[in-house]
């Protein structure tokens, strides 16, 4: 209630403090209900548990585990044993240490991608849907353009262009570039969904009411329209995390992803793709971790979707 239009001829102001108080308590209650519903979704809770364990493993495991990923020559191709639960790789590095590091990079990349895709997608989608007209046309055409460009060409530029590589740290640390690149090609679905939602939400009475009260355009978009799309945004952001882990792996497989000395689960798999029959643990351990990340995040997303929108379970009374 801070941006009411002109000071003249206002209708008697509604008791704003009371309204907002009521609002926030209602909001809090709604979040409690969502949380309760989420906690009842067994697969989602298990997924959440796995995800937390994976995050702890990736970010604290390195400090706790007896071997460091830089320690090599511990004996090559040792199968899993008490000393090396995941065995050792072709250089004699401990696979637990390597997996911790790979998981860490994969998670970092996935979270950055999800954040970027969500921010870009929501902003462009909301602008297109709310402003319509030429803004919508420009944004929609731009979305088409990004969809039409060959998906790997930007990756190729980023990985190969000597200038970009040198800017990104000279030493060849490129995981951040890969993350940013993936973020740049992952926002389109979110933008389309949000655009569609905003297009229909902007016609709703409460938007009209906010407009009539003189709320500014950014306020209408950010305080009135987007909160109504928050469920869609959160669910899509979650699913983007899962997508990004898999995309990064695919990119590493064709040689346009993360490059050594950085690593990722995808890179580990593709480095060990020829060990599949002889030293299967080298292939299947990073594979399992990718599946665990992606599966747990997908289940979290599914649980959130059900918690936000229990329509299909609810009964009209």
């Amino acid at each position: 209630m801070t941006e009411i239009g002109s000071p003249v001829a206002q209708p008697p102001a509604p008791p704003s403090a009371e309204v907002s108080q009521f609002d926030s308590s209602a909001t809090r209650k709604q979040w409690q209900v969502i949380l309760r519903r989420f906690l009842r979704h067994r697969a989602a809770v298990i997924g959440f548990g796995i995800f937390v364990v994976l995050v702890l493993f990736a970010f604290l495991g390195g400090a706790l585990w007896k071997y460091d990923f830089t320690q090599l020559s511990l004996g090559r191709y040792k199968p899993p044993s008490g000393d090396h639960p995941f065995g050792t790789d072709r250089l004699g590095g401990d696979m637990v240490a390597q997996t911790i590091r790979g998981t860490q990079f994969s998670l970092q990349i996935a979270l950055i991608v999800a954040l970027m895709a969500t921010v870009i997608g929501v902003v462009l989608g909301a602008l297109a849907g709310y402003l319509r007209g030429w803004v919508d046309t420009v944004i929609s055409r731009f979305t088409d353009l990004v969809l039409v460009l060959p998906p790997f060409i930007i990756a190729a530029v980023l990985v190969r262009n000597s200038f970009v590589v040198s800017v990104a740290g000279g030493g060849g640390s490129n995981w951040l570039i890969v993350a940013i690149y993936l973020g740049l090609i992952s926002w389109m679905p979110i933008a389309r969904v949000i655009r569609g939602m905003v297009l229909s939400l902007r016609e709703k009475e409460f938007v009209e009411a906010a407009h009539a009260l003189g709320a500014s355009t950014p306020r209408i978009v950010f305080r009135h329209i987007l909160p109504n799309a928050v469920d869609v945004i959160i669910v899509n952001a979650t699913l983007t995390v899962a997508q990004a882990v898999l995309l990064e792996a695919a990119l590493s497989f064709i040689g346009l992803g993360v490059q050594s000395p950085d690593t990722s689960l995808g890179l580990m798999i593709s480095q060990n793709k020829n060990e599949l029959t002889l030293h299967p643990w080298l292939f299947f351990i990073p594979f399992t971790f990718i599946v665990l990340i992606s599966l747990s995040v997908n289940f979290i997303g599914d649980g959130l979707r059900d918690a936000f929108d229990p329509r299909q379970k609810r009964v009209k009374a």
Partner: protein, 332 residues
């Protein structure tokens, strides 16, 4: 309707121009296609300038683009430029790859769509049944696996199967190096044997990913229509359950899935990079990866133009289907 189609196609021409220009810029930014060649051994300045002359790379960027665009419109899609690989016409190579991709994806798309729709509909009608939980679990697992791992495991399994077949005195069945270049030969039975051996694994690979998408999508849209007011109206009229499900719920649930699958099929003409790479099919995906690796500008551009046209056309098809299936939508 006809005017709408024409207008939509005309609108996409500027998109193609901008996209091709951007694509040209990006290939340029990847690096100099002659860069590696120059470093292989000492080259004389004369040699170098001749090479640049031949490829047209001595001219400024903009001029090269305009030349390419002019040639492209008249049907000349350029040649490969990297020495050692130079002089191959882009159009012919691309066409060959396109045919390979087409043969691979058509069957897989149709099977994945049919299977996904069937499983999605049954899952929605019997929500929370054992079937639904199983289908959901499988779809989630498929969603969560990196495709190239699936492909690699399938390939390893295929080789094991071949070894086993050989050990019991049979022929090696699974072909993991793409379809034979000179086509299938021999008796009809033998041809069928070879054909299935070449197609089965890549097709499974492609179905895995598409099936998961289609079945989840179909289930969601079907649940929405099954719970709609108009299905309740139909039931209240006294029609059979089957009629309410298929004539009313399914007919409406078709609209989103048809739209999504046309968009998806349009995009799939760009090739299945991973499947093609793992199983040695020289389709569009492999074409692109090779073109990018070698820094072949005209090959990348040719690829982009072909795939972009398909994406645009299938976007249009999706809209037309939408209007066809939903009388509320008007195209004009």
């Amino acid at each position: 309707m006809f005017r709408y189609i024409i207008r939509r196609l005309l609108i996409s021409i500027p998109l193609l121009i901008v996209a091709s220009f951007l694509c040209f810029g990006l290939t340029n930014a990847m690096g100099d296609p002659l860069g590696e060649w120059k470093l292989q051994k000492p080259r004389t300045p004369a040699e170098i300038s001749l090479a640049y002359e031949r490829t047209g790379y001595n001219k400024p960027f903009l001029e090269r683009y305009v030349n390419w665009a002019g040639d492209f419109v008249t049907g000349d899609w350029g040649e490969s430029v990297v020495p050692g690989n130079a002089g191959k016409p882009v159009k012919e190579d691309l066409l060959k790859s396109f045919v390979v991709t087409l043969r691979l994806i058509i069957g897989a798309e149709i099977i994945a769509l049919a299977l996904g729709m069937a499983v999605g509909v049954i899952g929605a009608v019997r929500q929370y049944s054992i079937f639904d939980y199983t289908a959901t679990g499988i779809a989630f697992a498929m969603f969560s696996m990196p495709l190239f791992c699936v492909a690699l495991v399938l390939k390893a399994g295929g080789i094991q199967l071949n070894n086993w077949l050989e050990s019991i005195g049979g022929d090696r069945w699974i072909i993991t190096a793409g379809p034979p270049g000179d086509g299938f030969k021999g008796s009809f039975g033998h041809q069928l044997f070879q054909y299935s051996g070449a197609y089965i694994l890549p097709t499974i690979c492609l179905i895995v990913i598409q099936f998961a998408l289609y079945s989840r999508f179909q289930r969601a849209s079907m649940l929405e229509t099954l719970n709609s007011d108009y299905v309740r109206t139909a039931q209240a009229k006294g029609v059979s359950q089957g009629r309410a499900i298929f004539k009313h719920a399914f007919r409406n649930a078709l609209i989103p899935i048809i739209t999504v699958s046309s968009l998806n099929i349009g995009a799939s003409f760009g090739g299945a990079v991973i499947t093609e790479t793992v199983f040695g099919w020289s389709g569009m995906g492999k074409f692109l990866v090779e073109a990018i690796t070698k820094l072949e500008p005209y090959q990348v551009l040719g690829f982009m133009m072909v795939t972009a046209v398909f994406i645009i056309v299938f976007n249009l098809i999706a809209d037309i289907m939408y209007a066809f299936l939903d009388p509320r939508i008007r195209l004009d």
